[in-house]
């Protein structure tokens, strides 16, 4: 077991492409830390630097108490599960599992014992003599996990290990993974672009964008109190509603909605409300609220998502999934919002829905820097 620490780690690829910039982050001993961000945000590069597959341009990476910048991968006592599993196609499952141990000159009995143990743990006993080509996706994934487990490493590095599985299997493997990690207590760094996976799996999540760490914390904290507009838009599905408001001497106005916020600087601010933070209210409602022009209704079984627009300026920010960046969007007069409703409430498309923010649901961000404005 060991802690893993990044200290001011920077990775620059040839051609001055900065993949990771000044990353400082620590995974405590036995912790399940998730690196999450859109594709191209540098999370995989960060993981590969821990594995020793990428050289570090600047800064240090520590595993345990040892700086590993110049330590070759095999001497770092880490095990990695690759996104595409990278099973040796010409070897049977048993040989795939044993390969790492054999390279470390483990005795034959030990190899057999550990391969047996791990294959029992993961339910691979019947597959030991098969080759990867004869396995299903879920089975390959399990073998890849087994190959990491069998080595009994100090640190697990998982690079989007569930992204190639179908949705159902992914949910199942997700809980299996969490249980397994809890039982073994091995420090685990897990990379994913799927924020649902991140929130459900991790003890702590670190959100990256464009090679820069945006926020790190407990999933619920990150969800409830995003540090900036990027995190607010990226974490949560659907993302946080962001509207452009105006603050004047401690009072913020966004469309018809007005409320007090002592810390708000005068001028433009971004007002963020999670979809479940908007509650429908009856026609007789007299307090602050929005009238949502309902455009699309998505019944999901356990909830209903209502997409529509309100009489307020749009924040004009979107996350570009390809570029992994926050983009300035067209600054339109009508802001788009999403409201999460219980399944029994299902407004018609084209109708109007009165909603009001739940107490404590409003978040404020600086319009230029995008940083959260927190109450004192």
């Amino acid at each position: 077991m060991a802690r893993v620490a990044f200290q001011d780690v920077t990775k620059v690829y040839p051609g001055a492409v900065v993949a990771v910039q000044g990353l400082s982050l620590e995974a405590a001993d036995g912790e399940f830390l998730i690196l999450v961000g859109p594709s191209g945000c540098g999370k995989t590069t960060a993981l590969r630097m821990v594995a020793g597959l990428e050289r570090i341009t600047d800064g240090t990476i520590t595993i345990g108490n040892r700086v590993v910048n110049d330590v070759p991968p095999k001497d770092r006592d880490i095990a990695m599960v690759f996104q595409n599993y990278a099973l040796y196609p010409h070897m049977t499952v048993a040989k795939n599992l044993a390969f790492g141990l054999r390279q470390r000159r483990t005795s034959r009995e030990d190899v057999r014992r550990r391969v047996d143990e791990v294959s029992r743990m993961l339910g691979l006993e019947q597959l030991l003599q098969r080759r990867p080509g004869q396995l299903s996706g879920g089975q390959r994934q399990r073998v890849a996990m087994g190959r990491a487990l069998v080595r009994e490493p100090d640190v697990f590095l998982l690079d989007e290990p569930l992204s190639n599985l179908d949705a159902k299997l992914r949910v199942q493997m997700r809980s299996e993974l969490k249980r397994l990690q809890g039982r073994l207590g091995v420090t685990t760094i897990y990379v994913t672009h799927d924020q649902v996976e991140a929130i459900t799996l991790g003890e702590r999540i670190a959100v990256l964008s464009d090679g820069v760490l945006q926020q790190v914390g407990k999933p619920q904290d990150v969800y409830d109190h995003p540090d900036n507009v990027f995190v607010a838009s990226f974490i949560g599905s659907p993302p946080m509603n962001l509207l452009k408001g105006r603050a004047m001497s401690g009072r913020v106005a966004v469309g018809d909605l007005e409320f007090d916020h002592a810390q708000a600087p005068d001028g433009d601010v971004l007002v963020g409300i999670r979809p479940e933070g908007l509650r429908p209210v009856g026609q007789g409602h007299s307090g602050p609220g929005f009238e949502v022009h309902v455009e699309v209704v998505e019944p999901l079984g356990d909830e209903v998502l209502v997409h529509g627009s309100v009489e307020a300026r749009d924040a004009g920010v979107r996350i570009d999934a390809e570029e992994a960046k926050l983009l300035a969007d067209a600054d339109t007069d009508r802001g788009t919002v999403t409201v999460r409703l219980p399944p029994e409430e299902r407004p018609e498309a084209g109708s109007r829905l009165l909603v009001a923010p739940a107490p404590g649901a409003i978040r404020l961000f600086d319009a230029t820097s995008g940083l959260a404005i927190r109450p004192a």
């Binding site: 597959l53 996104q83 196609p89 390969f99």
Partner: protein, 304 residues
């Protein structure tokens, strides 16, 4: 290897609903055929006959008497088959010695090419070192130089090494081939890098990765290289002709076969028989290696 691939291919493809619609919105129907075979066969079958004719003629010649071989028009069915020609060809010449020499030279060259080309190709494909691109380019450039240009310089080098009239003259200059390096480099580059990274994390050294991961996954490429190199070396005539001058004990098959062709008389029936015998190893190798030519399995450990 192929047994793994076969069941997957044999299984009927699941019906893809998106294909039913198609671009035209109609279900695609198999084309109606007017012939019980593919029309291409009308073109390809005569072509195959043209290709096979010399071979058939040679087989026929090897079973004729000397007189029949000289008959015009050629006799395509000799009546009684002279199988004795084969034993005569062996007895009346140093066929055994030639065969042995050629085998030694060819096997040595094929094995050394597989070893050295793999090593070099792996370095070019995967190891970053100063001047890699330049060296690779220069090596490739030598491929463009025709043999005739380097014949004399190579001869002089071999002569300085004291190898003229020895089998070494045939082996040493061909221990490694640029073509082999090029071919394997290109193939190695197509192997998923994750496999090697996984092996590195598993504790494997570069050499172990090459031997345990890269080579087993490159069998189709290695088999192809082996067959090509085998054919080139086995059939090579010019280089042995230049370097094996007087020493009959160092003759290869191709040099030996040429001795059947005298200034005044050519024993066509024996030449044909010896020729067919000299072809057998290549045919055998081709049949054996053919199975390795099927698509590699290198990507089967990856996502499904």
């Amino acid at each position: 290897m192929s047994s793994i691939i076969a069941p997957a291919k044999a299984a009927p493809a699941p019906l893809d609903p998106s294909r039913l619609g198609g671009e035209t919105g109609m279900v695609e129907r198999p084309r109606r055929r007017f012939l019980p075979f593919d029309p291409w066969h009308l073109f390809l079958a005569p072509l195959a006959v043209v290709m096979l004719l010399p071979l058939v003629w040679m087989v026929v010649t090897s079973l004729e008497t000397l007189a029949q071989t000289r008959h015009f028009p050629p006799i395509l069915w000799p009546g009684t088959l002279q199988f004795g020609n084969y034993s005569d060809a062996i007895r009346q010449s140093e066929f055994g010695t030639w065969f042995w020499n050629t085998t030694v030279v060819t096997v040595t060259i094929v094995v050394s090419n597989l070893v050295f080309c793999s090593l070099a190709a792996y370095a070019f494909a995967r190891i970053r070192f100063l001047g890699r691109g330049v060296i690779y380019f220069v090596l490739l450039a030598t491929l463009m130089v025709p043999l005739q240009v380097v014949l004399i310089p190579t001869f002089l080098i071999v002569k300085d090494l004291g190898l003229i009239d020895h089998l070494g003259a045939l082996i040493v200059p061909n221990l490694v081939s640029v073509f082999g390096i090029f071919m394997l480099t290109q193939f190695f580059r197509t192997l998923p890098i994750e496999l090697e990274e996984a092996a590195r994390i598993d504790g494997a050294s570069r050499l172990t990765i090459l031997l345990r991961i890269v080579v087993p996954l490159s069998l189709p490429a290695l088999a192809t290289l082996a067959v090509i190199q085998f054919m080139w070396t086995w059939n090579d005539f010019l280089w042995p002709l230049v370097t094996i001058l007087t020493n009959q004990n160092a003759f290869t098959l191709q040099l030996g076969l040429a001795t059947f062709q005298g200034a005044h008389q050519t024993t066509w029936h024996l030449l044909a028989a010896a020729n067919i015998m000299s072809m057998l190893p290549i045919l055998a190798l081709f049949l054996v290696a053919q199975r390795s030519f099927v698509r590699g399995i290198a990507t089967q450990g990856l996502k499904g």
